[in-house]
Amino acid sequence: MAIKLGDIRLRRYKVGPGMIFIWIVGALGLAVAAWRWVVGLGPTTNLSDHRGWGIWISFDMMAGIGLAAGAFTLAAVVYIFNLKKFYPLVRPTILTGFISYILAALTLLADLGFPLRIWHLMIYGNIHSPLFEIGWCVMLYLGVLLLEFSPIVFEALHWKVPLKIIHGIEIPLMIAGITLSTLHQSTLGTMLTILPYRIHPLWYTPLLPVFYYISAIAAGLGMVVFESYNSARTYGYRFELKLLSSLTKAVPWLLGLYLVLKIGDLVVSGDYVYLLKGDLASVLYIIEIMGGVVVPMLMFADPKTRNTSNGIIWAAFYVMGGLIMNRINSALTFFHGALYLPAWSEIAVSVGLTCLGIIMFDAAVRFLPMFPEPTAEVSEK
């Protein structure tokens, strides 16, 4: 191939039928998004005056950003807590985070009534608005992630000066990223605290910001496992089981704290009475807590499960599923409003953007030295 600039060159991984399918679905999703921009939200979604937010907000935005928390968590572990052995996980995790935030921004563009005015967040402000804070944090964090990711590109290009500059500001950059993430991950919960009459009492609590923050860290670590597994399977790299097992030792502590606070909150507020109702909300709440918190907590706590590829991956699925379910339950299913099922076009955009994320990850792996390659020629200038 002619494409070669430093170490930026096409690495010849096999393109399977799965990847071709993902390309097609991604393209369809973008086409549907374009259609939505032309004709508006009414004809293309099942949203209405009594249901202003659908799956794009609860799944793509809230769950998507939550699952991207691995990037800042790992940054803290490696750069701040100085646990250098986890370094091999850093680059793909930062890439995953970067892509997740790009996707969140794209979803927002699909969802906003005036997508071309998204920059208004920069010139008109309202410090009372949680969304204003989230908007700023996400914009800034996208910049931070771009800078955190840039050394990979600079290395591949053998650009020493920019590399040196980035390396010089590396620690302040990481601290900024972790702080921004702490803010917006929790503020996604704060966003719902002003909706006491919308959110079901089982999910509505003044501790929402705390719950959103802790669950994002736990599920973000699950996402690191999932992404490593996927890279290993797709591109034939070694699955870093030992490292991941060691890293996810923290998950039971996080989920344990989460569980204790959750139960304590229900007892103190008296909202546990809603659990005794036996309606859909109580059933889904219990499934969410058992399947998304208790099960992965026990799985990650058990070394035998954690130390096997199958065990750790399933545990990761459970904790990620728990976060997705929590965001959808709190911000969609039991969000007071008109009955809503997503339109096919909403699902198409949602799935299409997820495929676009996979395509971006694939492209990065193909063109950039994302993983240590035994065969890569080391060219020194």
């Binding site: 921009w37 032309v38 004709v39 508006g40 939200l41 009414g42 004809p43 949203l47 209405s48 005056d49 009594h50 202003g52 937010w53 803290a76 701040i80 807590f81 100085n82 969802d111 009534g113 005036f114 997508p115 005015r117 998204i118 208004h120 967040l121 008109y124 309202n126 410090i127 009372h128 608005s129 949680p130 969304l131 204003f132 804070e133 908007g135 620690i171 990481m174 601290i175 972790i178 702080t179 702490t182 803010l183 929790s186 503020t187 704060t190 966003m191 605290t193 002003i194 909706l195 006491p196 009459y197 919308r198 003044p206 501790l207 910001p209 705390v210 103190v268 507020s269 008296g270 969000f335």
Partner: protein
């Protein structure tokens, strides 16, 4: 419940925000000052017992704001069934066990509106005069206002690809020119009264003293921290589609968290920096030794 939600919220909010003192004496004084200010704002009192359901207010509203008709499927009747982007006020009817009553639906113009509080670009604004107005040119179309409004008032132009948020603006332009709102002006029976919030509260309380005719409550006096649109009626207001809300204003719930943002930045930043230097204390030495 052993501890009610409000108390728990205050405790948790104070604990979480650390320095966000929700109940300090200064905060209470501020609340009192706000109340005085609020009572000089423009206000409407809708007296359901005087309303005959003629819908003159609806017509006046549409013609003043140039809103297109909302018709039945045969396109014969102008027949909106609910508030929408094209219908900012609507006369509805309750006809049930507790009697019969008309009710006029429209924006409540909260003293502390949740919609304006959550808007990330301040497209919705609570003016000093009272009306909650919309600056369309700022709006990004996030629809947080629609989620936040406890009365379900802001509506979107779903079938436009530049979908403005629409709702009653209390005829802010007419008010500024010394006129009454179009609906109040059009009302032939005196069901829609207009004046300062204090005046309207006085009228409302003197009227509801007649317990034969009224159910005794002035809806909007305290709900969600108080609204500039007030209701008195012969049937329970909750039957008229006015939701049961407690007295706290919605922006007061999340403000302690938002106020804590600079503290979170400071504390997290300081913690990370300190941790970094602690965990790297030996490395620094090695580097110095090496050089």
């Amino acid at each position: 419940m052993p501890i009610n939600r409000r108390d728990f919220l205050k405790t948790a909010g104070a604990g979480l925000g650390g320095l966000a003192l929700v109940d300090s004496p200064i905060a209470q004084l501020e609340v009192q000052a706000k109340q005085v200010e609020a009572n000089s704002q423009a206000s409407m009192l809708y007296d359901a017992t005087k309303c005959v359901g003629c819908r003159a207010c609806q017509v006046a509203c549409k013609s003043r704001s140039n809103l297109p008709p909302v018709t039945d499927p045969e396109r014969i009747w102008e027949r909106p069934l609910d508030l929408s982007a094209d219908t900012w006020t609507l006369i509805k009817l309750y006809d049930g066990e507790e009697g019969t009553s008309f009710v006029k639906a429209n924006c409540m113009h909260c003293v502390e509106p949740a919609c304006a509080s959550v808007c990330p670009v301040a497209a919705l604004e609570k003016t000093e005069a009272g009306p909650v107005v919309y600056h369309a040119e700022r709006c990004i179309g996030c629809r947080y206002c629609m989620a936040a409004c406890p009365f379900g008032i802001p509506k979107a132009q779903w079938y436009s690809n530049a979908p403005k948020i629409q709702k009653c603006d209390f005829c802010a332009d007419r008010l500024a020119g010394g006129e009454r709102p179009a609906c109040a002006d059009a009302c032939p029976t005196g069901a829609i009264n207009f004046g300062s919030r204090q005046e309207m509260l006085d009228v409302a309380h003197s009227r509801v003293a007649d317990t034969e005719r009224y159910v005794g409550t002035v809806y909007g006096e305290h709900e969600a921290g108080g609204t500039d649109v007030l209701y008195i009626a012969g049937v329970n207001p909750h039957l008229l589609g006015l939701p049961e809300l407690d007295e706290r204003s919605l922006p007061s719930i999340d403000w302690p968290y938002m106020k804590a943002v600079p503290w979170v930045v400071g504390i997290v930043g300081a913690f990370l920096t300190a941790t970094y230097f602690y965990t790297h204390r030996n490395e620094g030495k090695e580097v110095h030794d090496g050089h």
